[in-house]
């Protein structure tokens, strides 16, 4: 992974000093609440329902074991001994004290971490595929480009006061796992007809209040121009994006109101002046950054392991876990595995300090000391030898990290919701827990197979409900909590936005609604058809009819 040099380290250290002084001035009454808010937000600090919430950046979800142990130590020392992995691949503390936050940042800086631009109206942490670098269908490892973009966007002076938050995603594989169509800018690498690396540029996608998939404004961009082109997109947005209404301030609204053609024309007119300028990425810089990710650490191994096969035959529980949690790898004899942070009864994405230490130990022992956070809020160990899988599973299982539900119904994506977040209309974690409790029969879950159920506590959509096969959105009706259900959303290259099935439900009705949706699927599916395929083939009508049947009678 990328390792800081003196320049990177100095920027992070100077940020700690700057933020420490800003916090001091706020506590001394020299900065008003309104003046401090954007400053602390651009350092990941929200003031929430119970306490501040601090969002720590995990660039493209990649961490080493030393960093993870530091996070464990911080949760013990400054919080309540646990933390939360978010759908933005970041790590959140739920209970830090405002006065402690400069010290927390100083601790993070000792392991090359920070909270820069994890919130606020600026360019946010850039996300990608959790299998970057190891996925068999990868065209190019997206991480070097993201690291170059990360550095470019860090304290970019021109974009320190955007109309709203701004999110980029980069994909380097044939199957998009980075949600490029649901971001303000999505950069999708592909090989052009000449076999050269090119970027397809998506703009104006986003979830939130007005879910919309992005538009391609440039089909073919040479990778050398990624920075200057993004800069022009951001410049047009910074100047012309709406600032009079926060709900209409995202770039998607500007692209929609100008039309994609006119937006593109303005971007290209600006870009004409900077194209080939000093911001053009050199091969030397790309190679320098890429060198941190290309180190060949793998041992030559056969792509099968007798011990692994034997363990699967002998142990059905291990086999069930392996079926869901072991993923293909581009290097023979290695696999990526998912450690589920979704056991029944725990808030999705939460991990205790003890679990963080265990994950660090597993990473050290089995996966080159590195791990990734997925936007599904699980942990990935990306480079595990086939022969190590059984031992890894045994250890993970004793620490609640091996629930065999990855990609199944109970692997729910869920925002912190009304229990923690001051923006939320409704709680989301108890809904996730109620669903997990109702569907705890693993045989049934495996029979249902691949399905994504996403829950957001408000239309800010941190739980990505719009792209869940089943989406649940908390809404406020006359001061009480109700839940709207959507069907047919999907992430990936063939992304779609879910459709609302009808009037909303009370919290305790949701598990029953999910049951009826699944019954409709089971009754109508063909062989090999996943839940989303059945929904796409039939439309929402039969699902809707079954869910609302009782009320109609």
């Amino acid at each position: 992974m990328y390792i800081y040099d003196d320049i990177d380290q100095r920027i992070v250290d100077e940020r700690v000093a700057q933020y420490r002084d800003q916090t001091r001035r706020y506590l001394a009454g020299e900065l008003s609440e309104d003046e401090f808010r954007p400053l602390r937000l651009q350092n990941g600090l929200y003031i929430q329902r119970h306490a501040p919430m601090m969002r720590i950046a995990v660039p493209y979800g990649l961490m080493n074991s030393r960093q993870l142990r530091k996070l464990a130590e911080i949760t013990r020392r400054y919080d309540k001994g646990y933390g939360h992995f978010s759908t933005r691949q970041n790590f959140q503390l739920n209970w830090p004290k405002l006065e402690d936050t400069p010290d927390i940042l100083a601790e993070l800086a000792t392991v090359q971490m920070h909270a820069i631009q994890t919130s606020g109206s600026c360019i946010r942490a850039i996300t990608t595929d959790q299998f970057a670098g190891v996925a068999p269908d990868e065209i190019v490892d997206p991480r070097p480009m993201i690291e170059i973009l990360r550095q470019w966007s860090t304290f970019h002076p021109e974009f320190a006061g955007l109309p709203r938050k701004f999110k980029l995603a980069v994909s380097g594989s044939r199957q998009d796992r980075a949600l490029v169509q649901a971001h303000d800018i999505g950069l999708e690498f592909y090989l052009d007809q000449a076999g050269k690396l090119a970027i397809r540029v998506w703009v104006g996608g986003g979830l939130g209040r007005t879910p919309i998939l992005g538009t391609v404004i440039r089909e073919h961009l040479e990778w050398q121009h990624a920075l200057t082109y993004c800069e022009s997109i951001l410049r047009v947005y910074n100047l012309y994006g709406r600032r009079d209404n926060a709900y209409k301030a995202r770039i998607k609204i500007l692209v929609k109101s100008l039309g994609a053609e006119e937006f593109k024309r303005q971007v290209e007119a600006d870009w004409a002046l900077t194209k080939d300028g000093p911001g053009t990425i050199t091969q030397a810089e790309f190679d320098r950054v890429a060198s941190f990710f290309t180190a060949s650490r793998h041992t030559a191994l056969p792509d099968q392991d007798a011990g692994y096969e034997a363990a699967k035959s002998a142990n059905p529980a291990f086999a069930a876990w392996a079926k869901r949690s072991v993923h293909g790898h581009k290097v023979a004899g290695y696999r990526a595995i998912t450690l589920s942070l979704k056991p029944t009864g725990i808030a999705p994405g939460d991990a205790t300090a003890e679990q963080l230490d265990v994950i660090a130990e597993l990473a050290d022992r089995y996966s080159f000391g590195e791990l990734r956070v997925s936007h599904e809020q699980n942990i990935i160990l990306a480079d595990v030898k086939l022969g190590d899988l059984y031992a890894l599973w045994e250890k993970a299982r004793t620490h609640g990290l091996a629930t065999p539900n990855v990609g199944l119904l109970t692997d729910i994506i869920c925002c912190p919701g009304g229990d923690f977040c001051s923006l939320a209309n409704a709680k989301s974690i108890p809904i996730a827990q109620a669903i997990q409790e109702k569907f705890d029969d693993l045989d049934y879950l495996h029979d249902i197979g691949d399905i994504e159920l996403n829950i957001s506590g408000c239309m800010n959509s941190c739980g990505h409900h719009h792209v869940g096969h089943i989406g649940v959105l908390g809404v406020d009706k006359d001061g009480s909590e109700w839940y709207q259900v959507t069907l047919g959303g999907k992430q990936g290259s063939d992304a779609s936005i879910g459709v609302v099935i009808g009037p909303s439900f009370a919290a305790d009705e949701i598990p029953g609604v999910v049951a009826k949706l699944l019954e409709t699927y089971v009754a109508n599916r063909t062989e090999e058809e996943r839940f989303i395929d059945t929904v796409r083939r039939l439309g929402i009508a039969p699902f809707k009819a079954h869910v609302y049947a009782k009320e109609a009678a």
């Binding site: 390792i3 040099d5 003196d6 320049i7 100095r10 920027i11 100077e14 940020r15 700057q18 800003q22 003046e35 954007p38 400053l39 109206s121 550095q151 470019w152 966007s153 860090t154 304290f155 970019h156 002076p157 021109e158 974009f159 320190a160 006061g161 955007l162 920075l227 410049r235 910074n238 100047l239 012309y240 709406r242 600032r243 009079d244 209404n245 926060a246 709900y247 002046l273 900077t274 080939d276 300028g277 000093p278 911001g279 053009t280 050199t282 030397a284 810089e285 190679d287 320098r288 060198s291 941190f292 180190a295």
Partner: protein, 220 residues
């Protein structure tokens, strides 16, 4: 004491900022029940009554709103010819309108950009365009809600003068111009990104610490 920083020094302010009287009827915008003061880019900046009612001091150096210049050019023309008129823009005004009024913007000794609230970042892009696309070389001044925590960004976008908000310490603000010693990306103050400024080390080269200035890789 003066609240003006220019070229990293606290200096006396030669210029008087001319503002428009408040409009007769305030166009109040609301979002989610909260009054906001942001205007959409390209909105008209003044009414005829405001332009007629504005008081321009009879002598001295003045920075006037672009709309006022266009409405009362005759009054100001001779002073402008003597280099005693500067222009200021609202963050929502268009540079095209400035260029239409001043074919040679380097005839202006001062251009100021108003930050209605410090979180309104349009001024950063306006400044960047003025300095790069339009090659403006004279004083570029930040006015309005100018606070120390934004000065570093303003400097990087090409501002060289900052009229700090009156209730803030200008000495404290000076220090913030040096919040970061070596930025990552190119901007107006230094067009080169850090990897064109220095030869940075790759992973295989180990964790060498010496950072050598580099003068290679200049792109035409």
């Amino acid at each position: 004491m003066s609240n003006l920083i220019k070229n990293n020094h606290i200096v006396d302010d030669l210029w008087t900022l001319v503002t428009l009287p408040a409009p007769a009827e305030d166009t109040v915008r609301k979002q989610a029940g909260k009054v906001v003061i942001f205007k959409v880019t390209g909105e008209p900046a003044a009414t005829p009554a405001q332009l007629a009612g504005a008081v321009i001091p009879a002598t001295g150096h003045v920075i006037v709103p672009l709309t006022l210049w266009n409405a009362r050019k005759e009054e100001l023309a001779s002073r402008a010819a003597r280099g005693k008129v500067g222009i200021w823009l609202e963050s929502y005004e268009l540079l095209e309108d400035l260029l239409a009024s001043f074919p040679d913007i380097n005839s202006l000794p001062v251009i100021a950009i108003n930050f209605p609230r410090f979180v309104d970042g349009r001024g950063f892009s306006l400044a960047t365009h003025l300095r790069t696309r339009h090659q403006y070389r004279n004083e570029l001044r930040a006015i309005g809600d100018v606070l120390r925590d934004q000065l570093y960004f303003m400097k990087r976008c090409g501002f060289d003068a900052y009229a700090l908000r009156a209730d803030r310490s200008v000495e404290d603000a000076l220090a913030s111009l040096r919040d970061f010693s070596e930025p990552y990306q190119g901007a107006v103050d230094d067009a080169l990104p850090v990897w064109r400024r220095y030869g940075r080390v790759s992973h295989h080269a180990g964790t060498a610490h010496a950072i050598q200035p580099s003068h290679e890789d200049q792109v035409d």
